[in-house]
C-alpha cells in the first residue's frame, strides 16, 4: 500500500468547481420551494431553499466493491508487479438536466459513457433509478417535451432515443434472442474480391481463423435505444424545438454543421441545414421567441431563423472579449500581442427566462474567460453588458425568487481568471456568484441568496496547506474535467504537415 499517496489524498479534499448547474422550482402550498443542483467532479451536490443538503457520488458505489487497485504480487523474479492501474477511473459528470415536470434529474458521466436517471423526492433527495452505459461517449442530452424520451447525442455523431423510464416491456424487446448463441464468423471478402497477393494471404488467414471460431465483438447495450439520426462528425449539442404541432431536433457538430431534422417518429427526415459557421459549433440555444443562437470556435455568435435556415445576425464576441481584457484593470495582461491570432471558444449560451416570452436575452460564456456577456439578439447593436466574474465562467442557471430572476453562475475557483492551465496561489473561497436584474434590465451582483447557498458554494476544505505540487496536480485534474472546448478546433495545417 502506498502510504504517501493515501496521505496526500486525505489532505487533498479540495472541491472541484461546478462544471454544470441546474435549478428547479416547485410551487408548494406554503410558497415557493426551489433547489440547486451542481456537478462537482464525480459528485452531485443538492441544496434547497428550505435547507436540504445532500450529495451523491459515483465514487460511493465504487468504494463498496472490493478494490484490488493497489495490490501487487511477487513476480517470479522477485519483482513487485502491479496487477492493475493503481487509481481507479473517476466518473465525472459532464452534463445534468432536470425534466420539465421537476421530477427527474438526468446526468451524463464522460468516462464510463453512462446516462443516469435520478428521481427527485419531495425533499429534493436524489435516488438513482437507472444507469445506462452507451457504446460511445454522450456529448449532450435533452428531453422530449413530454418528458418521456431522452435524446442522447454522442461523440461518434449519432443521436439515440432512450425512454426516460424503461418499461419492463422495453427491456424484454431490447434483448433480441440471446439464446441464439454467437453467430458464426465468415469473412465477407472472397477470392474474387481481393486481388493483391498480400490481401489474399490475409484472407486465407481469416478463413483459417473462421474455421477455428472467433471471439464475438463487444456486447451491444441490452436496454432499449433507438438510433434516430447521425452525422459523420462528433456531435456537440442537441436541442428540441416546437412550432405549432411540429417538433424538431436540431443537432450541431464539429464540422460547422447545424442540422434541422424532424423529431420522432420522423427523425430520419432532414428539413435543412443552417450553413454559415466556419469553425466548429459547440452550443445551441433556443431563445424565448424561438430564434436559434449558436456559437463555437467562430469569432461571432450566429442568430438564426432556423425554420427557414436563414442567418439573421452575426454578433461579434471575440471583440467583446478583447474589449474586456483591454478595459478591465487586472486583465490587461491577457491582451494578446497579435490580436488577429486571438481565439475564443464559446462554452455556454443561456436563454434568460422571461415572463412575457417576448423579449430575447441571452448570456454567453467563452472558455477560460472570467466574464459573461449579456446579448439581446433582437437589438445586437445595443451595447452588450459584460458581467465580470471572480473566475472563469463555467455554467449558469436561473431561479426566480419573489418574482426576480437570479442568475446563479459557477466559476472556476482553482485556476487564475483568464487562464485554463495556471492554478491560483490562493483559491477563491466561493464557487458561485449571484446576479439579479435591476429595473433598467442591467444585471448586478446580488448577495441575497448567498447565505442560503453558503454550504453549496463554499470550497469545503479550502486546501490551504496542501503544498505547491499537490495544488498544481489538482489544477491539472480539474482542467481535464472542466475544459476542452478549444480542442474541438481543427488543426488542418498541423495534420497536413505530419501526413506529407
Amino acid at each position: 500500500m502506498n502510504q504517501e499517496q493515501r496521505n496526500s489524498a486525505a489532505q487533498l479534499r479540495m472541491a472541484f468547481p461546478y462544471k454544470c448547474l441546474a435549478a428547479c422550482t416547485r410551487l408548494a402550498a406554503d410558497g415557493e420551494d426551489w433547489a440547486l443542483f451542481g456537478a462537482s467532479g464525480s459528485t452531485l451536490v443538492v441544496q434547497s431553499s428550505r435547507g436540504t443538503q445532500s450529495t451523491w457520488s459515483t465514487e460511493q458505489n465504487v468504494e463498496n466493491k472490493p478494490d484490488h487497485g493497489d495490490e501487487s504480487v511477487e513476480g517470479p523474479s522477485g519483482k513487485r508487479i502491479k496487477l492493475s492501474h493503481p487509481t481507479h477511473q473517476k466518473n465525472n459528470f459532464s452534463s445534468i438536466k432536470i425534466s420539465n415536470d421537476g421530477k427527474y434529474l438526468i446526468a451524463i458521466t464522460a468516462e464510463d459513457k453512462s446516462i443516469r436517471v435520478f428521481q427527485l423526492s419531495s425533499d429534493w433527495q436524489l435516488r438513482q433509478l437507472s444507469e445506462r452505459c452507451m457504446t460511445r461517449r454522450p456529448c449532450s442530452i435533452t428531453l422530449s417535451d413530454d418528458n418521456s424520451t431522452i435524446f442522447c447525442a454522442d461523440k461518434f455523431g449519432d443521436v439515440y432515443a432512450l425512454p426516460l423510464l424503461p418499461s419492463p416491456e422495453d427491456e424484454r424487446n431490447a434483448n433480441p434472442h440471446p439464446e441464439d448463441g454467437p453467430k458464426k464468423y465468415a469473412p465477407s471478402a472472397s477470392l474474387s474480391t481481393v486481388h493483391s497477393g498480400r490481401n489474399r494471404k490475409v484472407l486465407e488467414e481469416q478463413l483459417k481463423q473462421a474455421a477455428k471460431g472467433r471471439p464475438q465483438p463487444k456486447d451491444a447495450p441490452t436496454f432499449k435505444h433507438d438510433l434516430l439520426l447521425g452525422h459523420v462528425s462528433m456531435l456537440t449539442d442537441v436541442v428540441t424545438a416546437t412550432v405549432g404541432s411540429r417538433s424538431y431536433l436540431i443537432t450541431a457538430d464539429r464540422d460547422e454543421h447545424i442540422r434541422v431534422s424532424r423529431s420522432v417518429p420522423q427523425a430520419h427526415i432532414i428539413e435543412g441545414f443552417c450553413h454559415g459557421h466556419e469553425e466548429f459549433v459547440h452550443r445551441l440555444c433556443m431563445s424565448n421567441s424561438n430564434r436559434l443562437i449558436s456559437g463555437g470556435g467562430d469569432t461571432h455568435l450566429y442568430v438564426w431563423d432556423w425554420l427557414s435556415h436563414t442567418l439573421l445576425e452575426k454578433i461579434p464576441l471575440q471583440s467583446a472579449v478583447l474589449n474586456l481584457y483591454r478595459n478591465q484593470s487586472g486583465l490587461n495582461s491577457l491582451v494578446p500581442e497579435r490580436e488577429e491570432d486571438f481565439r475564443i471558444a464559446v462554452s455556454g449560451i443561456w436563454n434568460v427566462p422571461s415572463r412575457t416570452d417576448e423579449t430575447d436575452e441571452i448570456l454567453v460564456a467563452c472558455e477560460g474567460v472570467p466574464a459573461l456577456f449579456k446579448i439581446k439578439p433582437e437589438t445586437p447593436s445595443e451595447e452588450a453588458q459584460t458581467l465580470v466574474l471572480n473566475g472563469n465562467a463555467l455554467d449558469v442557471t436561473f431561479v426566480t425568487v419573489a418574482g426576480a430572476n437570479t442568475a446563479i453562475v459557477s466559476i472556476d475557483h482553482v485556476h487564475e481568471p483568464g487562464h485554463t492551465t495556471k492554478t491560483r496561489e490562493n483559491q477563491e473561497p466561493s464557487r458561485l456568484q449571484l446576479f439579479t436584474t435591476a429595473q433598467n434590465g442591467e444585471w448586478f451582483e446580488d448577495d441575497r441568496l448567498k447565505s442560503t447557498l453558503e454550504w453549496f458554494s463554499q470550497d469545503t476544505v479550502g486546501g490551504q496547506d496542501t503544498g505547491e505540487s499537490a495544488r498544481v496536480a489538482f489544477g491539472k485534474e480539474v482542467q481535464g474535467v472542466i475544459y476542452g472546448v478549444e480542442n474541438l478546433r481543427k488543426r488542418a495545417e498541423i495534420d497536413a504537415a505530419v501526413s506529407v
Partner: protein, 310 residues
C-alpha cells in the same frame, strides 16, 4: 509502431518520376493522362479532417469554374436566382457579393452525382449519353481526382468541335461526401446518385466508414428529389446485402424492382444501369476476374405528412 512513410521499400523514386511525367504532359492540354502516374492507395479515412476545401454552403459554391460552358456570365440578371438555392446569410450580402455569387452560378444545376467516382469511368460514359445534364464526380483521393480532372480537360480540348459530346457537362472535385454532401447540394437538387464499387470496409469495426448507412441515407434523401434514384453496384455480396438492408430500413427509400432496370430495353434507368455495369473501372476489373456484380436501386419516396397533420 513504425510510422508508414510515403514510399514503399523498393519503389523509392516514384514521386519525382510522377511529377516529371505529369509536368511533361501538362504542357499538352489535349494529351490524355496516364493512370500509372496517378495511382493511389485504395482507401481513405472518411473521419479524418484532411485538409479539404469545401463551400460554406451550396450558395457559396463556384460551379462556373467547374462547368465553364454553362457559366452564367451576365451577372446583373440573376441576382435573385442562385439556382433555386436556399441562400443563407443573404441579409448581410452586399451587391458585390451577389455579383460574385452569380458569376459563380451556372445556367443549370448538377443533377447527377457519382460519389466515389474513382478514375471516372462512369462519368466519361455518362457524359455523351446525357449531354444536357450536369454530372459531378466526387472522390476523396487527391491524385485520383487529379487524374479525372486532367482527363476531362483533355477530352474537352479534343472534342471541342464534336457533335456527339463535348464533355462540358461533367466535372470532378475532391470531397469527403460523408461529411460535406449538404455543403455542395441543396435540398432535392439531384435526381440520381451513383455509388459504384464502394470501399467494402470488411472489418466490422470499420463498418461506420461505409458509404451507406441508415444515418447517411438521410443525407442522400435530403439531396435527392422525390422520385430520384440511388444506384448501387458492388462485387462484395456482404456489402450488397448491407446496402440493401440499410436502404430498405430507411423510410425515405423503396427498392426498385429488377424489371425496371434489368435487360436490354429502353429508358434512362436501364441505360444508366448498363453503363454502371460495364463502364466503371472496377466493373471492368470484376469482369476480367469473372467476379459477381450485385446491383440494387432505391427510389426516394415523398416525405410523409407530419405525424400530427396526417
Amino acid at each position: 509502431m513504425k510510422r508508414k512513410t510515403d514510399t514503399m521499400p523498393g519503389e523509392p523514386a516514384k514521386r519525382p518520376k510522377r511529377e516529371a511525367a505529369r509536368k511533361a504532359q501538362g504542357d499538352d492540354e489535349a494529351a490524355l493522362p496516364k493512370k500509372r502516374f496517378y495511382r493511389q492507395r485504395a482507401h481513405a479515412n472518411p473521419f479524418s479532417d484532411h485538409s479539404l476545401t469545401y463551400p460554406k454552403s451550396p450558395a457559396d459554391m463556384d460551379w462556373a469554374s467547374l462547368y465553364p460552358a454553362y457559366s452564367l456570365k451576365k451577372s446583373e440578371e440573376v441576382v435573385n436566382d442562385a439556382g433555386g438555392m436556399e441562400v443563407c446569410g443573404s441579409h448581410d450580402e452586399t451587391p458585390s457579393d451577389k455579383i460574385r455569387k452569380s458569376t459563380r452560378a451556372t445556367t443549370k444545376n448538377v443533377e447527377i452525382a457519382d460519389i466515389g467516382c474513382g478514375f471516372g469511368g462512369l462519368l466519361f460514359a455518362l457524359a455523351p449519353q446525357f449531354p444536357d445534364t450536369l454530372i459531378l464526380g466526387m472522390e476523396i483521393r487527391m491524385s485520383v481526382t487529379e487524374y479525372v480532372h486532367d482527363k476531362i480537360r483533355a477530352l474537352r480540348v479534343q472534342n471541342a468541335a464534336s457533335d456527339t459530346g463535348t464533355y462540358q457537362n461533367i466535372a470532378v472535385l475532391r470531397a469527403n461526401t460523408m461529411k460535406f454532401l449538404p455543403n455542395f447540394f441543396t435540398k432535392h437538387q439531384l435526381h440520381s446518385i451513383f455509388l459504384c464499387f464502394p470501399d467494402p470496409h470488411f472489418k466490422q469495426r470499420k463498418h461506420k466508414a461505409r458509404i451507406v448507412s441508415y444515418t447517411l441515407n438521410s443525407e442522400y434523401a435530403y439531396v435527392l428529389r422525390p422520385g430520384g434514384i440511388v444506384y448501387t453496384i458492388t462485387d462484395v455480396k456482404d456489402l450488397h446485402e448491407w446496402m440493401v438492408g440499410h436502404f430498405e430500413k430507411h423510410p425515405s427509400f423503396e427498392r426498385v424492382g429488377e424489371e425496371e432496370y434489368d435487360g436490354e430495353g429502353d429508358g434512362e434507368i436501364r441505360q444508366r444501369v448498363r453503363i454502371m455495369r460495364t463502364e466503371t473501372e472496377e466493373g471492368k476489373k470484376v469482369e476480367r476476374n469473372n467476379g459477381d456484380k450485385f446491383v440494387a436501386l432505391f427510389r426516394r419516396t415523398e416525405d410523409p405528412p407530419w405525424p400530427t397533420e396526417g
